[in-house]
């Protein structure tokens, strides 16, 4: 890929891939961070539940993975990962940006909310260690929408014909 021949369409494609990684990853970092702080607090009170809390802590991390996933599919579909990027028109580039919005925005917000639910679940597990199954279920409920957003983004990205 020669930097001098990079077209605006190709640039927009990179913007789309970047948005997907940045926003979803941002949300996950926030969600996992939030849950991690609570995990540390609960573990000082009740060190025995620490391993149960670890599962809860990484649950908000999947949104970042979904964002990364969509970015990779965009790079694969446009051939950028192979080093021989296809010609992408401006309209196609804009379509890529539109296509990543679900996974990027829903990823950002759902990861933060999932982190909050995970943190609340940790407090519950700290008091009642046998309720960790319920805490995990509550946390995973939030993830449904991230999965749906991932699917929508995936279908849209795959629908863009070069």
């Amino acid at each position: 890929m020669d930097i001098n021949t990079l077209s605006l369409g190709q640039f927009l494609t990179f913007v789309a891939a970047a948005l997907s990684v940045i926003l979803a990853g941002w949300g996950s970092a926030k969600g996992v961070g939030l849950a991690g702080q609570t995990s540390a607090g609960v573990s000082t009170e009740n060190p025995e539940v620490n391993s149960k809390l670890m599962v809860l802590q990484i649950l908000p991390g999947t949104q970042g993975i979904y964002g990364f996933l969509i970015a990779v599919i965009i790079l694969v579909n446009t051939g950028a990962l192979g080093g021989n990027m296809a010609a992408v028109g401006v309209s196609q580039g804009l379509m890529y940006i539109g296509a990543v919005l679900p996974v990027a925005l829903v990823g950002l917000l759902s990861a933060i909310h999932q982190g909050k639910v995970a943190a609340a679940g940790m407090l519950m597990v700290g008091q009642h260690p046998d309720m960790s199954g319920k805490a995990i279920t509550m946390t995973v409920m939030v993830e449904t929408y991230a999965v749906l957003a991932l699917l929508a983004s995936f279908l849209m990205v795959n629908a863009i014909k070069l």
Binding site: L59, I65, V72, L81, M141, L148, L150, L151, N158
Partner: protein, 631 residues
């Protein structure tokens, strides 16, 4: 597939035999004791004292654990101990060891405090080291007054300039950031004036410690004291380390004491008279004979009585399944135990759980890895019951993963065996999504059938028609509408189903036909929840896609690395192993959690009645050892 049938057992025996009987019951581990009679026996008065001892023992175990001679690898099994060995423990000896450890800890805390104080004093002396005079010598100067303290560098230069050529001498001792420690002498004639000027310049008076000795001599003395303390500390550490040898005994004692405590809790439930003791509890039906035989052998005088649960009595719930299904009980109990009058869904759930798990991990390479590693781990670790169940659940999921991975044609991220591949999630995703929704519908219908089965069992076949079959008609009918050939049949099936729901959903709420119709409409609105339930199975596709694509990216990265010579090859190999392990771990966790969720929310939502109390028999539940010959 069943909730284990329970019998109420009551045991009447001599009071003096009670302790021995409870020891036997603890070894057999099959009786869940209940309060006998109306008034509970004397509360376990010794409970608090034992709890305190257990706490101290636990503290000692944690404190001494770093002195354990040979570290136990987390993969090797816990040390095995016989139940007899637990009976013959020496509490006094162990508590003496604990006391010694506590005394050493206090001493060492003392020492640390003194060391901190000494270090602080040394720190305070450091700026005065260049001073060769003792405090007494400074005070005894007759014609001049000595000032010691610290002052800002800038202020000091100005001060020196102002007093140039007057009977004052300023000696700079040590500089610390922008502060200078100084010793100044002023002739008695200008003493007052100089002191005022110093104050104005922001001089902070401070003095090296009082008494004999120059600061350097004093510091040496302090340092010597500190070294002595360090020696003392090392001696204490040595004694502590020697106590590490007592760890096995302490562990044994901890387990014995906690077994004692659970026993005395059971004893406090007994109804006692001066000479007799009555204990009541629940026991699984299949174990009653063995229990009776063992008790009669040891206590010929004891009276045992078994009876079925009476009306209104709620026996505790224990799930009993064939060995293939049994590990999945942990998935059910992770949600909530079924009501004693409900149903144990483990066996029906198991194939779905494994199938969904396999679809979400979806890399045959990871599946093979799990199927090989987990049995080895179980063999090596001899894990406790719960952990073993979890590992077996993952093993089943791993085997399903090999199946689905082959269908997806993903082997450690490579498309290695295209002849096995049926689905291509990235390029042709529609068939995969259809399979996901189809499996979801199957799962949900299985849930409805469970509900229907319960209605039939309870002698309410009409309820099964109203609540379960109506929905199946509606959903299948709507599904048939999609195909032109079956659309007509689908239409009538859906209308029939909807009609039944409309007319019967409100039957329990009111006799008023109008109100019933309103409730029926509300229930019919529940069709939206079916849509969201079915869509929820799309996660099977999404999670599977994530594993596959990330595996592919890993391989591409590794491909770039290995292109550049021998070093690249080595780094590439490390990245390949590490990244695939990471991907596998993240996805196995995700698949487990999401497979659970699909059971708890979508499947259980269709029929499950929770609310059973767990069966907690009196038994050994050791933390640091395995009790080998309990029964």
């Amino acid at each position: 597939m069943a909730i284990v049938e329970m019998r109420r057992v009551s045991v009447l025996l001599m009071r003096r035999d009670q302790e021995a009987f409870l020891r036997l019951a603890q070894r057999l581990g099959c009786v869940h004791f209940l309060p006998a009679g109306q008034e509970a026996g004397p509360a376990a008065a010794s409970g608090a004292a034992e709890q305190e001892k257990l706490g101290r023992l636990q503290w000692a175990l944690t404190r001494l654990s770093k002195y354990e001679g040979k570290k136990r690898s987390p993969l090797s099994p816990l040390p095995a101990v016989s139940a007899d060995a637990l009976d013959g423990f020496h509490l006094e000896e162990a508590m003496a060891t604990v006391e010694q450890a506590e005394r050493l800890e206090r001493l060492s805390g003392d020492l640390r405090g003194r060391q901190t104080r000494l270090r602080l004093m040394i720190d305070q002396l450091t700026p005065w080291l260049p001073l060769d005079l003792t405090a007494n010598q400074l005070a005894s100067a007759r014609s001049a007054k000595a000032f010691t303290g610290s002052i800002k560098l800038a202020a000091l230069s100005e001060l020196e300039a102002r007093w140039q050529g007057r009977p004052v001498s300023v000696q700079r001792l040590t500089q610390e950031r922008d502060l200078e420690y100084i010793l100044a002498f002023a002739h008695r004639s200008v003493e007052e004036e100089f002191a005022a000027d110093l104050r104005a310049a922001g001089f902070q008076p401070a003095s090296p410690a009082e008494g004999e000795g120059t600061p350097r001599q004093k510091r040496e003395a302090l340092q010597k004291e500190l070294d002595e303390l360090a020696d003392e500390q090392a001696a204490i550490d040595g004694q502590m380390a020697r106590l590490g040898g007592e760890l096995p005994g302490l562990r044994l004692c901890y387990e014995a004491l906690s077994a004692d405590r659970t026993r005395s809790e059971a004893a406090s439930l007994a109804a006692v008279t001066a000479s007799a003791s009555l204990l009541e509890g629940w026991i699984p039906l299949s174990l009653t004979e063995k229990f009776e035989k063992r008790v009669k052998e040891k206590f010929p005088m004891a009276q045992l009585e078994f009876r079925a649960p009476a009306e209104g009595e709620e026996p505790p719930v224990l799930l009993g399944n064939k060995p293939v299904f049994a590990p999945y009980e942990s998935v059910v109990t992770g949600f909530a135990l079924p009501d004693p009058a409900g149903i144990d869904p483990t066996a029906v759930m198991m194939p779905f759980f494994a199938c969904f798990f396999g679809m979400m991990v979806s890399d045959a390479g990871y599946g093979i890895m799990m199927a090989v590693i987990i049995p080895i781990l179980i063999r090596l670790m001899q894990p406790a019951e719960n952990l073993k169940k979890l590992m077996l659940v993952l093993l089943g999921g791993g085997i399903a993963t090999v199946f689905w991975g082959a269908l997806y044609n993903t082997w450690f991220g490579f498309a290695a065996l295209p002849q096995l591949g049926v689905f291509d999630a990235v390029n042709n995703s529609m068939p995969v999504m259809a399979v996901c929704i189809g499996l979801g519908a199957l799962h949900l219908f299985a849930g409805l059938l469970m509900g229907a089965y319960m209605n039939f069992r309870d002698g309410k076949p009409l309820d099964a028609l109203y609540d379960q079959f109506s929905w199946m008609m509606l959903v299948i009918g709507l599904g048939l509408l999609a195909l032109p050939q079956t659309a007509a049949a689908g239409k009538w099936l859906a209308i029939a189903g909807a009609g039944i729901i409309l007319l019967t959903a409100g039957r329990a709420k009111s006799r008023n036909p109008f109100k019933r119709l309103i409730s029926g409409l509300g229930a019919l609105y529940g069709v939206t929840s079916w849509i969201s339930d079915l869509l929820s199975y799309m996660r099977l596709f999404g999670m599977g896609l994530a594993t596959g694509v990330i595996g592919m990216v890993i391989n591409q990265l590794v491909g770039m690395l290995t292109g550049s010579g021998i070093i690249g090859l080595v780094i590439g190999a490390v990245v390949f192993v590490g990244a695939h392990l990471f991907n596998a771990a993240i996805n196995i966790l995700g698949a487990y959690v999401h497979a659970c969720r699909l059971q708890y929310i979508e499947f259980f939502g269709k029929f499950y009645q929770e609310g059973g109390k767990p069966f907690r028999p009196l038994r050994f539940s050791p933390r640091h050892v395995r009790v080998t010959d309990a029964s």
